[in-house]
Symmetry: C3
Subunit: 497 residues, 3 copies
């Protein structure tokens, strides 16, 4: 139930009837008539987001102005945007009322055909290149790849499931939809579906709204009611859509901070992270293009993985990408062994010799047919190194990349050691796993093995790749990996002797 401020209705109703708003109250004169009507009520209904939007580039720049900028300065990639959008700024209606027929979540709202969920397909109206690139990104398939991979779906169920105890054994019920939404699916994305309509009281009057399953959600691999994949708002926080937010590492940290994927934590103990933390107040996070040394003096996540970066002289150090892994040759995390990136963002198509949808065998051997080849790996490495060279000598850069290659080999080797110990436990019947057709994640000893690679080997590689050494030694890296191997040994020796 909402507060009801009936006096608001009068004000808004009058305003709607008159259709007259000052530029000061509703934004620049180039706000569309439809958006002005949205704002008339939402200024009071949801004042926070209206005020937030007013601070955005969307509220200030028309498509014509955006297209008028030189190529390096341009923030839109559309060449021929719809005529109706050209002279207006991007207000509520330009996003929430667009493509109504594609959206199963479209509903009638004060005579407008509105959808709650703005999707990549909607954003592609002005930003088509970014949306296309994003579609080639593993992140666009984050939900699909988790849900449709029985190994990983099994892990998710064991983590989120509701465990009981009947006095003899541990039982497990399936996790609830609510729990999935606020755990794995929070980052990986939900499938949003319309499940009917309901009437809600609002500050204006009773209104009908769609009932949305899988909502709220902003996961990067969200499957939307228009069939598209992803949520641009995962990184471009509503309703300011600030490029500053997307460029700062805090955004990435929403999903890349935990022990399974500690990119943010590693970054923050690196020299780069230190300089960012210390001097960010003097940087320009809104400039396009982003000029190395001028606008920033150390990279953030976006610098290396996403942004268009140039020198002050205009040399393009790196082109903008939203594929995000096209500057990375190795997939360092999430799987049992590090390996070259998969060719397709849809990893459910991979099959290893054991028939499992995994990019390596259980021994670490890569399933090469599904992975990028040496040439593509080199391309990606060289693309990334161009960014390093902007501040570092060849000797420095190549030294670092050699260290990473050694670390990938050694962490894979240590993971194999942990795996051999678990196989021994299964063989001897001390635990029940692949050999017995049982889950490989449910027993305490299997959890310990999982941590060996999911947390520790993974963290060591991150700490190597991003030069955040401190995290990879005692924080959650080599110390714990070596300790885990010894504990696995301790347990196996006890149980099998």
């Amino acid at each position: 139930m909402r507060r009801t401020a009936r006096d608001l209705i009068t004000v808004a109703a009058i305003a709607l009837a008159l259709g007259v708003f000052s530029a000061g109250a509703l934004g620049a004169a180039s706000v569309s008539r439809d958006s002005k009507n949205c704002i008339a009520c939402h200024e009071e209904a949801t004042p926070g987001i209206v005020a937030d939007w007013r601070k955005s580039a969307h509220a200030r720049v028309t498509m014509n102005e955006a297209l008028g900028k030189s190529k390096l300065k341009r923030r839109v990639s559309a060449v021929e945007p719809p005529e109706a959008l050209k002279a207006v700024v991007v207000g509520c209606a330009e996003c929430h009322n667009i493509n109504p027929k594609d959206h199963k979540d479209t509903f009638d709202h004060n005579a407008y055909q509105v959808h709650v969920i703005v999707t990549p397909k909607d954003c592609a109206t002005c930003h088509p290149t970014e949306v296309t690139q994003y579609g080639r990104n593993l992140m666009a398939y984050a939900r699909t790849n988790l849900r449709n991979n029985p190994v990983y779906h099994g892990l998710a169920k064991e983590v989120n499931g509701i465990h009981g105890y009947d006095g003899e054994t541990i039982t497990r019920r399936e996790p609830s939809a609510a729990t999935n939404l606020e755990s794995c699916d929070f980052c990986h994305g939900s499938t949003v579906e319309v499940a009917g309509t309901e009437t809600r009281e609002t500050i204006m009057e009773e209104m009908d709204f769609p009932i949305l399953k899988g909502w709220p959600n902003q996961g990067v691999g969200r499957v939307n009611p228009d069939g598209s994949r992803g949520a641009c708002s995962a990184c471009h926080a509503r309703h300011h859509f600030s490029i500053e937010v997307a460029r700062k590492p805090y955004t990435c940290s929403e999903c890349h901070k935990g022990p399974d994927v500690p990119a943010y934590r590693v970054y923050m103990v690196s020299k780069h992270g230190n300089i960012f933390s210390s001097l960010q107040h003097s940087w320009d996070f809104n400039a396009v293009p982003w000029v190395v040394g001028k606008h920033f003096t150390a990279p953030t996540c976006a610098t290396c993985h996403v942004s268009l970066v140039t020198s002050e002289g205009g040399y393009v150090v790196a082109k903008r990408t939203h594929q995000m892994n096209d500057r990375s040759e190795w997939r360092l995390f999430g799987l049992i062994y590090a390996h070259a990136h998969p060719k397709s963002p849809d990893t459910t198509i991979i099959k290893n010799k054991a028939g499992l949808p995994l990019p390596t065998e259980l021994t670490g051997e890569p399933v090469s047919a599904f992975l990028i080849d040496a040439k593509e790996r080199e391309n990606r490495r060289l693309t990334m190194q161009e960014l390093c060279f902007a501040c570092h000598s060849s000797g420095w850069v190549e030294g670092r990349f050699k260290q990473l290659a050694a670390t990938i080999r050694e962490t894979n080797e240590k993971t194999l050691t942990a795996t051999k110990l678990l196989l021994k436990a299964w063989e001897r019947g001390a635990a029940r796993g692949l050999v017995q057709g049982d889950s490989i994640f449910n027993e305490a000893i299997e959890r310990k093995w999982t941590e060996a690679w999911l947390f520790y080997a993974n963290s060591i590689r991150f700490s190597s790749a991003m030069c955040g050494a401190d995290y990879g030694v005692f924080a959650n890296g080599r110390w714990y990996l070596a300790k885990t191997i010894r504990e696995l040994q301790d347990w196996v020796e006890f149980k099998t002797k």
Copy 2:
């Protein structure tokens, strides 16, 4: 021993004798004569805090000016403050020399009756509403509720005690007063008592000071020498008393960051925390009232739990409160099971069926007579939701609150599973606990059980309530809770077979 700067004495003595100070040296002309005398010496004795105070609103605004502001802009709640305070700014003497007879720690200091410890009762001179509200807050009883609850006091002694080993068994001495002061009591508060007087060398001359037991301390439930409870300086850091500091989450993090109460960590991986971190430099943390969307574009801890928040149009989204839990229906942390908030901030009055001062039974069943009822729970939930509605739609908000309700149920259920395993261990004599009349926190297996609820179930609920999913999955949540249940099973099976 202090440095002795005898030349300072001359300067200060002359200054005192003349009673003449420039406004530049001692602050505005409206600094009281008494405070000017304090500053004359402390400018050199403790230059840091004098300079800090000069930056404060206290140093710039007289009570008359404060009272002259419109109601929403006013920062004082006194209606009839003492006449003597009206025309002066709030200097040293206005806080440290006030209410001398109430203060057992009052001592003679250069002919002034001074007390070191400024208490909520002192602050109530100008801020009575806030102090009254704070008195209804669980935090005001943080010390009492910990010390006078034998279950929790037992946990504290097991954590802080000094363990020895005599070759056969582990011994435990009581923790020292020093250790208690810098562990539990640091946040929960000490009892400050005067234990005599001592003479100390100062930069001026030898002087007498009270010997204070339980000092230094700024814990939120501190029992003060005037009988009052709390320390406003816990959140309003001396001597700037900046509202900016109190509104930023770093303040809360001093006590709410560890695995037992990781509110700060959860916030920082939420979208709210990301936006705060990224854009705080452009927000106004000193404005009163605090206007959503204008002064800030995402909530901090204070926004949701304390602050007066309005829309730009002047609509009051939330009234200021210092009770802090009056917008929260559930008590998520600190106890074995989540439950509705207790009615009284003094929780030592609660008794469950087993006679323990706990708000639930060991099975999780709430001890409802001592807890707020459904109506009050709804009131609190709606008050909180008003803040959400400032930026989010009804569907979004209600979806989130449903998730939290499910999570409370499910984490309580998992905690019960862990508890059943421990009960089994006690029944079978594999460990010694309630059944044997032994501590429930001293053995290794009991520690593991404690982590199940104190760390993991608790963190999952926080991560749900504050939408910081990442923390609730692998960081310190579902992964570890499920793993702990499996490890308890492993241990119990081994010990009881």
Copy 3:
């Protein structure tokens, strides 16, 4: 392989030939001719660092100007710097071309004798006092003390080594040089040696460069090709060398954040850390001297351990030091028991009764002959307390120091308890350690014992010393130390019964 931009050659070649650059393009007119020549190419070769350097004091201030400042404001300590440096700012050549004969890494680069690695000996040209002080710092010996101490070197090998499993036992290969460089040596420092010459493609043409072993590295105890120890760039990040960066705690956090040395984490939950985080935007991190209360209102790491701090009246609260431990009486971390600081930064000279290079016996008894005496301890304590007194009363400060003393005693006592349990395991043959002449770090139970002191006792002391209570209770302190003792007991009882 680098991008080749042959057109750049033309531009640079012409520029070099003409020797004419505008002040705008190459910095102030007082940039030396040699440095201008460096910049001519590196402006395009490594644009990030050239732009970074332009923001530095080095790029703006000549030695003559630096020497002209009053003593408290001066940032250089040289009295008679080389004549050639006096009239120019500190550009590329002034650091990378200096002392060519001392540098084994000197090579011919476009007719200049250049070295890649700028060392403390190079920095001493203008900052001799700081370099001398740093040489008395434990940090200058961080590599030596780790590598040449067989106990600690043994720990490092067990952490970094590559573990295998042959079906029966765990094997261990020596860690690779690459792994050492990005783990222990990353912070402790490498030994950098020239191992030949190689030809590399550059954006200009093919050039010869030295092959450097132990590179890249910026560890604090780096052994340099000119025989000096240390890397000023560890804290003074290249090429801005901003005093702001060195004064902010993020710099220290690069090496002091992990569970073995969590100074940064403790600081961030302290009141000091809260005030820093909340108000740093309003502080002046570039002012020299640093005036307490005016330029900052709470200390950072540098304030207490390094910086020159004065009152606004010019009273010197603390002199600048780069010894860094000369305000600290206790060595709180890294060793099994806390103890007074060693006299010499070279700790490999210490021998305890058991003949081990440790500053205490295995029972905690200090090896006093090698440690600072009571008088020096008092001196250091009083020096530190002067900083506290700038904002705190004597009672407050002495209360805190008493708490620390108690905590050192009690954590040492608990560590002894853990050690006794391990000794029992060794005696009974449940584990193989000193008694059996085996590593004391390789078995699971030995790892648990190591965590008792390296992580938990250590963290408790930090949290006491820096008033960050939250970290020392549940985060990584008393809870885990007491739990570890109980788990050691559990394991020993099971294995020895």
